[in-house]
């Protein structure tokens, strides 16, 4: 089927022309070079660069995913939940992807409980990531997910809840938005509470479902639960008593501590003003401070029993030794220390009962500064208690060498020395525990802790219990501390506040005591800062609070009454003799 004039390739006259040899050779070299390049490239990709490419490929389908670990719970001593983390969702968006119709936006804003303009503004921001709202409840998050909006994503997070609210606020502290402890026990026990998220490498299929677990890189470790020593019943009781006292006396602040005498556990610790840890908008520093542990104050007369105890211990006075406090004041150097009123001659017991400054100073003058310093030091003043609580302070106790006589005198009745309320309560353990001082603990302990040290002799401590009981009896400074059915003992304190280096007419009223006297179970310390409703004496402001807390606490702990004040029926039993109610001395 050849057409005339057509030529096949082989008969092309051009071929016969005889081209220069260099041209086909050039083409040949070109082709060769090309194929060498390809082979070299292939060898490079297959051989030398293999690992890199494999890793790249794997990263397309293999993923390292995080396995979340939950933060440990905090419970009280009976296992009631005080803090628990539950998952919540945060809604975030990729603004360029989020092209929402106005009705979608309205719907989304409704679920988020945000203004429509607010949502639109956030979605209009530049950048690839914006949080719309953090920590939403899982319910709402599910409904948002069902809207299937483009560019709107969710992220699972944990949020901490505190069912006991403001009652436990200062003990527990709180966590930040990332579920890490920021205050209180949450921070102090961060190491135990925090979980460690695990991670593993998996292969996902096209639909994002995990099809193979390649390796577990690290298993998740959930945070440990922490059981506090706090008894939520006592805590609640102290909280309500304190709130009421603050209101009645129009005080600025206040605090209460309850300690277990047998184990050194902190059974209750409350502060006012307080805050709601579940809603921390508009918090002030005053609300956040845990005054019991982080605020020092001059304890005033609550220091006196230690001076009396040291005097008894040294043996140069007995409880019956008479000290003349006339004329109701004493001059040391250029300063004069005076009593509220003229008491005349008082026994050592009465000096404490009536809280005479002059009598106490007379006793303190027998000691060398060093001797007094050693006692304060062994009672734990001047150094932090080591509870591990953030911000805990140790108060101020200057070296004995620097004491002037007037300072030694004022320190004996609690001025010129400062301590936290927790330290005061702690120091009173020596009277409640036969002269022994125990280390305190915020967490529940199963056995009596070791590390107790003897500060005073057993005899001295028992004598001091009797003396301190007098202070709550008729003729004492705090008959309002009495609790029906129980013998209580304690000491009032009314201290002028130190502001800018001078004493003002603002007061701190306090009461530290223990009960029942026959076999002490709890130490209760109360501090009311700046009562302004007219009364400011420890005996009228703090003692009633002590009474209320002690009464409820002893009942909650199931302690048998040791003072049948009113017709108290006693049924059954082995006829153990009861001690007579408080003597009238």
């Amino acid at each position: 089927m050849k057409k005339p004039g057509a030529v096949t390739f082989n008969h092309n006259p051009l071929l016969a022309k005889g081209l220069p040899v260099s041209r086909p050779r050039l083409v040949l070299i070109g082709l060769l070079l090309g194929s060498i390049t390809l082979v070299a490239r292939a060898a490079y990709l297959q051989g030398f660069n293999n690992d890199f490419l494999k890793a790249k490929g794997e990263s397309r389908y293999a993923r390292v995913i995080e396995i979340p670990a939950t933060r440990g719970r905090i419970t009280d001593r009976n296992g009631d939940i005080m803090a628990v983390s539950t998952p919540v969702s945060s809604i975030w968006a990729i603004p360029p992807d989020a092209k929402l119709t106005p009705s979608d936006t309205r719907q989304l804003a409704g679920l988020l409980e945000m203004e429509v303009e607010d949502v639109s503004r956030r979605l209009a921001t530049q950048g690839d990531f914006v949080y719309l709202k953090r920590q939403l409840s899982p319910d709402i998050a599910r409904r948002i997910a069902e809207l299937k909006l483009p560019g709107i994503h969710q992220q699972r997070e944990y949020r901490r809840y505190y069912p006991s609210g403001e009652v436990m606020a200062h003990v527990l502290g709180f966590t930040g938005i990332d579920d890490k402890g920021q205050e209180g026990v949450e921070l102090a026990f961060e190491g135990d509470l925090a979980g460690q998220p695990g991670s593993r490498r998996v292969i996902r299929d096209r639909r994002g479902q995990i099809v193979e677990d390649v390796e577990s890189i690290r298993g998740p470790r959930d945070g440990q639960d922490v059981a506090l020593a706090i008894d939520v019943k006592l805590q609640y009781l102290a909280h309500t008593a304190l709130q009421q006292a603050i209101e009645t006396h129009k005080a600025k602040a206040g605090a209460i501590v309850v300690l277990d005498v047998r184990s050194g556990e902190v059974l209750a610790l409350v502060n006012a003003p307080t805050f709601n840890p579940n809603n921390r908008a508009n918090l002030s520093g005053a609300q956040l401070r845990n005054r019991v542990l982080t605020d020092i104050y001059e304890p005033g007369s609550t220091m006196k029993p230690f001076i009396a105890a040291l005097a008894l211990e040294r043996g140069f006075v007995k409880a019956e030794t008479v000290i003349n406090t006339d004329p109701g004041r004493i001059t040391i150097g250029r300063a004069t220390i005076s009593d509220v009123k003229r008491h005349g001659p008082l026994t050592v017991a009465q000096v404490i009962q009536k809280s005479s400054n002059v009598g106490t100073v007379r006793m303190a003058q027998h000691f060398a500064p060093d001797e007094m310093w050693r006692m304060f030091d062994s009672l734990g003043f001047g150094s932090p208690l080591g509870l591990g609580f953030p911000g805990e302070v140790g108060g101020r106790l200057r070296a004995a060498k620097t004491w002037k006589p007037i300072e030694q005198a004022t320190m004996s009745f609690g001025h010129g020395i400062s301590a936290t309320l927790m330290q005061m309560a702690h120091a009173y353990l020596v009277f409640a525990r036969d002269g022994e001082l125990l280390p305190l603990t915020l967490t529940r302990v199963s056995e009596t802790p070791t590390g107790a040290k003897q500060v005073f002799s057993v005899a001295t401590a028992r004598k001091m219990r009797e003396i301190l009981e007098l202070a709550t009896g008729p003729g004492g400074t705090a008959p309002k501390a009495q609790v029906p059915g129980y013998r209580v003992a304690g000491k009032t304190g009314t201290a002028h506040k130190l502001e800018g280096g001078r004493y003002t007419n603002k007061y701190i009223s306090s009461f530290v005591g223990f009960a029942p006297v026959s076999d002490p179970r709890i130490v209760v310390a109360v501090m009311i800062d700046e009562p302004t409703a007219g009364k400011h004496y420890g005996g009228t402001v703090a003692a009633p609070v002590f009474s209320r807390v002690t009464e409820g606490a002893l009942r909650a702990l199931g302690v048998a009454p040791d003072a049948p004040l009113v017709p108290l029926q006693v049924a059954g039993g082995n006829g153990e003799k009861r001690e007579t109610p408080r003597g009238n001395m």
Binding site: I81, D213, G485, E576
Partner: protein
């Protein structure tokens, strides 16, 4: 010789199919395991929420309010109490 080869080929094919089958089985069981682990986690979360709910209902303030108002309970006065001794 050829028979031997055919036999070997069959074995290879059989083992290859075995690998495929077991791989599939492994994936299926793994997905099941995955599902159960998710469930475990979900149940743990629910437990936490229930505990939270329980302790919210059992808040002492609420208990006290109900005891005082709805049930009209009062604290016993010292004279109304009977102390039973010798019970530990």
């Amino acid at each position: 010789m050829i028979r031997m080869d055919a036999f070997m080929l069959m074995i290879v094919v059989a083992s290859a199919l075995g690998v495929v089958a077991s791989q599939h089985q492994a994936r299926k069981t793994y997905v099941a395991l995955e599902r159960e682990q998710t469930r475990t986690h979900e149940l743990e979360v629910e437990w936490g929420q229930l505990q939270l709910e329980q302790s919210t209902w059992a808040t002492l303030a609420r208990v006290e309010r109900i005891a005082r108002t709805r049930l009209e309970l009062v604290e016993p006065r010292p004279g109304q109490m009977i102390v039973i001794e010798g019970v530990k």
